[in-house]
């Protein structure tokens, strides 16, 4: 089997045992990128020279007898919202074109410390705002299952890179579903850890109370290995949880749901859901039952208001966070001809540097926070957030995990929702409650929809700091489905 088809765990073991060098593994992925990325557009920046240098250094350390971690020498695609020294960081925006950050994000630093080889930076919706990568200032990424369709978003470059075998692993950030939704529509695994379980330091901020870095991989164990490699307490992030990383790798190896209580969220389904998505979801629920899980229906009535609450809270936080792009200290500056004031230059720069979705959200947030509207919009949304957290608490007294489809539909065609913000926002219907409540959730493949032959994701939600339950259930579902399918779902994707 070619190196690019192997799992991250296999590649790490091959490199550690010196059966294959990290340089060979890296070169195989660079070749794949050269072959397919012209059509996929997963990467905004590929640094072959730096990747090969990183790989050589891993090979040298292993040759010298050093024992490195399980992912040493494994290539990774890194979402272009994490700061990286030595590589540009754009957040998919023209306002940061060509910017080279003076420091590494904590996640970046931990990838380097784990010996992962960073191949380059992946495309995303501008400032991680979107569900399709169409909001990138650098052109959309294409879904490897069908190049005319979206790969999800905002971390669509990362989901496409992994599903196109350009990298075995990638990073993402999930503010309203930006890891789970792209994973679902590209047929791979994506995990949103508990909020505060992975560091936001050096992640270009969108909505600070929601932003959560997490892993993408082609299987549950690889996702767990990456989760463990970059998570854990970080004193540089004031909302980082000072607690051990949940035992995610052990859980991924313990694919057993016998006796677990699984709740099906009643509110997710019906109108707006594609029949083929619901059919695959119902099969996954039946599968869990056949594996010994006790399935019950659970009602979370406030979840119906999660989407409107999110589209008040997230834009409010973004309008504040993006005030830092002021054309003074870094990034784009437009119109500074010696006659204009700083404020005029600022307004011209922001108008030229931000795309339409970012402008919409900044203005929506500014509106929601305005005097006279604050209580009715932002204040009320925060109260709804409390009620959503209470719905989760009540549900998790009855069950160990909750399940739902990850997305209401499969990947939609590029362009279909591009100028219809409300239609685009619906892609995150099932993923948003978890962000508002801060708990953990994973998306794992559960089959192809009959209508279009495109991947469907099963979402598994667990309580705060019970991330391991997502991996345990995810691994059990993966194992059972793969034995039914005769291999991973992704092996059924058309060749690129």
């Amino acid at each position: 089997m070619s190196l690019i088809r192997k799992t991250a765990a296999e590649l790490g073991a091959l490199v550690a045992s010196r059966e294959v060098t990290a340089v060979e593994v890296t070169q195989a992925h660079l070749d794949r990128i050269a072959e397919v990325d012209g059509r996929v557009n997963a990467f905004l920046h590929v640094d072959a020279e730096s990747a090969l240098a990183q790989a050589r250094s891993i090979d040298e350390r292993i040759a010298a007898g050093e024992t490195l971690g399980p992912l040493a020498g494994v290539p990774i695609a890194h979402k272009d919202v994490f700061t990286t020294t030595g590589m540009p960081t754009t957040a998919g925006s023209k306002i940061l074109e060509g910017w080279r950050p003076p420091y590494d994000a904590t996640v970046t630093r931990r990838l380097r410390e784990a010996g992962l080889v960073i191949l380059g930076k992946t495309n995303l919706d501008e400032f991680a705002m979107g569900s399709s990568t169409e909001n990138s200032a650098y052109g959309p990424t294409h879904n490897p299952w069908d190049l005319s369709r979206i790969p999800g978003g905002s971390s669509g470059g990362s989901s496409a890179a992994v599903s196109a075998y350009e990298a075995p692993l990638s990073t993402g950030t999930d503010t309203g579903g930006s890891i789970r939704q792209p994973a679902a529509v590209t047929g791979i695994v994506g995990m949103k850890p508990t909020y505060g379980g992975s560091s936001r330091y050096g992640v270009i901020a969108f909505a600070s109370s929601l932003d959560t870095p997490g892993p993408f991989a082609r299987n549950v164990l690889d996702a767990a290995l990456l989760h463990e490699a970059f998570s854990g307490h970080d004193p540089l992030d004031s909302t980082s949880i000072d607690a051990p990383v949940p035992p995610v790798v052990e859980a991924a190896r313990h694919a057993d749901v016998a006796g677990m209580r699984v709740g099906v969220v009643k509110e997710f389904g019906g109108e707006g859901y594609q029949p083929g998505v619901l059919a695959r979801f119902n099969e996954a629920v039946e599968l869990l039952e056949s594996l010994g899980a006790k399935v019950v229906e659970v009602s979370c009535p406030t979840f119906s208001y999660a989407l409107p609450a999110y589209y008040l809270i997230a834009p409010s936080e973004c309008s504040s966070n993006l005030a830092r792009f002021d054309a003074m200290r870094y990034g784009l500056r437009v119109g500074d001809d010696g006659t204009r004031s700083a404020e005029e230059v600022m307004a011209l720069t922001r108008a030229a540097g931000f795309g339409p979705e970012v402008k919409r959200r900044i203005m929506l947030g500014t509106y929601a926070l305005s005097s006279g509207y604050y209580d009715a919009y932002y204040g009320q949304a925060q109260k709804v957030r409390t009620l959503i957290m209470r719905d989760f608490e009540a549900a998790f007294q009855q069950v160990d995990v909750l399940v739902s489809p990850t997305t209401p539909t499969t990947a939609f065609p590029i362009g279909e929702r591009a100028d219809d913000p409300m239609a685009m926002y619906l892609a995150d219907l099932c993923t948003i409650p978890t962000n508002l409540a801060g708990n953990a959730a994973i998306s794992v493949p559960c089959g192809l929809a009959d209508e279009d032959g495109l991947p469907v994701g099963l979402q598994v939600m667990a309580p705060v700091l019970a991330d391991d339950r997502c991996y345990r259930v995810g691994a059990a579902v993966e194992k059972a489905f793969e034995s039914r399918w005769g291999g991973p779902l992704l092996s059924r994707a058309p060749a690129l």
Partner: protein, 99 residues
């Protein structure tokens, strides 16, 4: 709840420091009106006695010992600046002619 008018968008754009073109004002007015109409649904939830949550986790202030740690060098801090002069960020004029 008031609908979002073109004038309102112009006001929001000014507050947001976005120099929008005229055609953008019309486009955004229609879209923001639709979005605000949809998110206003939060008002349907009876939540008078419910405390607001700014955050998912119970958080208190985080403190650390006040010790000197390495930070960015002046070169690092200025490395992405649009304009630099004498180890400082060079910015357009901040005060108006009359001030």
């Amino acid at each position: 709840m008031s609908a979002i008018t073109r004038d309102e968008v112009a006001h929001l754009a000014r507050l947001s420091r976005l120099a929008l073109a005229d055609d953008e004002l019309d486009h955004f007015a229609a879209q923001l009106d639709q979005i605000v109409g949809a998110v206003a649904r939060v008002a349907e939830v009876a939540a008078d006695d419910i405390p607001p949550s700014s955050h998912a986790l119970p958080l208190t202030n985080v403190f650390r010992p006040d010790v000197v740690r390495p930070g960015l060098t002046p070169e690092g801090a200025l490395s992405g600046a649009p304009a630099v002069e004498d180890d400082r960020f060079r910015v357009p004029r901040i005060l108006g002619e009359e001030e």
